[in-house]
Subunit: 340 residues, 2 copies
Amino acid sequence: MATVAWTGGGIRIIDQSRLPDEEVWLVLRSAEEVAEAITSMRVRGAPAIGAAAAMGLALAVSSGRDVDEVAAMLTATRPTAVNLEWAIHRVAGAARSGGATAAVAEAVAIADEDVRVNRALGQMGSSLLSDGSHVLTHCNAGALATVDYGTALGVVRAAVASGKRVRVWVGETRPVLQGARLTSWELRRDRIPVTVVADTAVGALVASGRVGCVVVGADRVAANGDVANKIGTYTLAVLATRHRVPFYVAAPTSTIDLATPDGRTIVIEERPADEVRRLRGATVTPDDVEVWNPAFDVTPAELVTAIVTEVGVVTAPFADGLRSAVSRASDARGAVVPLP
Amino acid sequence: MATVAWTGGGIRIIDQSRLPDEEVWLVLRSAEEVAEAITSMRVRGAPAIGAAAAMGLALAVSSGRDVDEVAAMLTATRPTAVNLEWAIHRVAGAARSGGATAAVAEAVAIADEDVRVNRALGQMGSSLLSDGSHVLTHCNAGALATVDYGTALGVVRAAVASGKRVRVWVGETRPVLQGARLTSWELRRDRIPVTVVADTAVGALVASGRVGCVVVGADRVAANGDVANKIGTYTLAVLATRHRVPFYVAAPTSTIDLATPDGRTIVIEERPADEVRRLRGATVTPDDVEVWNPAFDVTPAELVTAIVTEVGVVTAPFADGLRSAVSRASDARGAVVPLP
């Protein structure tokens, strides 16, 4: 299931806002349509929005538009995931040096790489799961969040592919319900057992002893190993630490941001209050109640057992390991493309 | 706002399942209607279901029905809150010794006491809040959860009444959304500032330093100070402990169960999966996804800073203080009514 694909004249995505009720595929035909799809979370997940934005920029360049202007517009859609600026930076660089053809090739390469990277990351992480593991994940770091296969769920898929039995637990992940709607949907397609709990139940779940490890994705990993990820991740890390449950972050090197020293400087997106006030049409709060709706939180590196990348599993102290992983991944791609 | 009231021929309640969309008042005219209202959470909150069940039993006794049979039926509606069995035990005892007249008088006394007890508890707790406090609460331990005034929100109300400025934060409290629907609704009626967050945001909220203390209610406090309360409470206690934020439990002595040595033996109700799968008509998960839906969790006494009762604030070690509080409260009522 390639959830983000280049069609030549557009970008084919599955509309994640309609799942699980309806499986609707859209073809986005302009950078503006891509921007709208990212902002409204029709396409979401750090690697997936990176690939979609890359293709959106390539599309714009192909129709003769100004690279910098479109790149800025796409970069502004969401602030927290670093993959977005990383992917846009790569396509903009290709466009400047090789024009539309190079931009399209780079965007398609980013998407192809993402699938290979996730499969490699999954292999690296699968050794952390034993047969019979119960894995608690959060939000959706699966095929839907990437171009295919997934990061946290890629680890699960690789473990299952190697013959291990794995059960996944996931909190519903309010306000947008990616755990309840998306992770359950894609795991059931793969016949991997999954149980959904309310976000309030994760404490009792971890305390019950049923969770063998936590595996989550990431939107941005700072140079020191602090991890920005979907709101609620920090709570899982605190619970895991208290109950001595390993807390793993599945993050391709494209998610590691060496230019950000630690989590304090990561911009945390705040989303509309109505995401909390209403839920898919149903009333949740009185109409105009005050709401605080941050989309991400930061888990300090001290709570992270290991960060799983496509080139290896990094443990504390993270700074050296992350720098080395980024360097090896760039070498493997045959070109170092640093962020500005 | 008396949310549970004896009308002579029935029990008047506000239908909490319809809030905040509609303010619907119902008159329940049989013990079976009371049982249905408790099971379906039209009336919820440990003190409120205690008072409603007491009146339901008094109503049944008044129409000549068998005390033990109706008491057993009402006790079976929900297993976790001890107030339910405590209140039913009191009315059954009165019925056996003094018939219908005594049963009705006892049920009405339980409701009247609840309001007095909550006001006294609020006074005891208000000294814990300073001017400008930001209080994080959970679920609804307010007027709606009691006969009037509330326990955790009674503490807030008493502090506000004494001239302190208090802001309340509350997680929406999935699956039934008592925080989003009920706590916000009743605090806004009282013009007390309230901000709702998704349950996933409580970690980031506590980590941000904005929460001065946590105040929650309780469904059953064990003899050692372990606290059963709405699912999600344990997570707040773990977060509060990590961030050195005081964690207070507002529990009238009717919620203290000296016959339960610790939290391990408290029966935790599991509620229907559809509470998680759907939300007020909206789809949350694929139709038949597996769900675990515990309604309560247990916070170990070691994470509790203090338990606020109507006769005083109890701190660790809790065993002696809780026993003493129950004894003093019984003396104050003029009669010791132990559970069997």
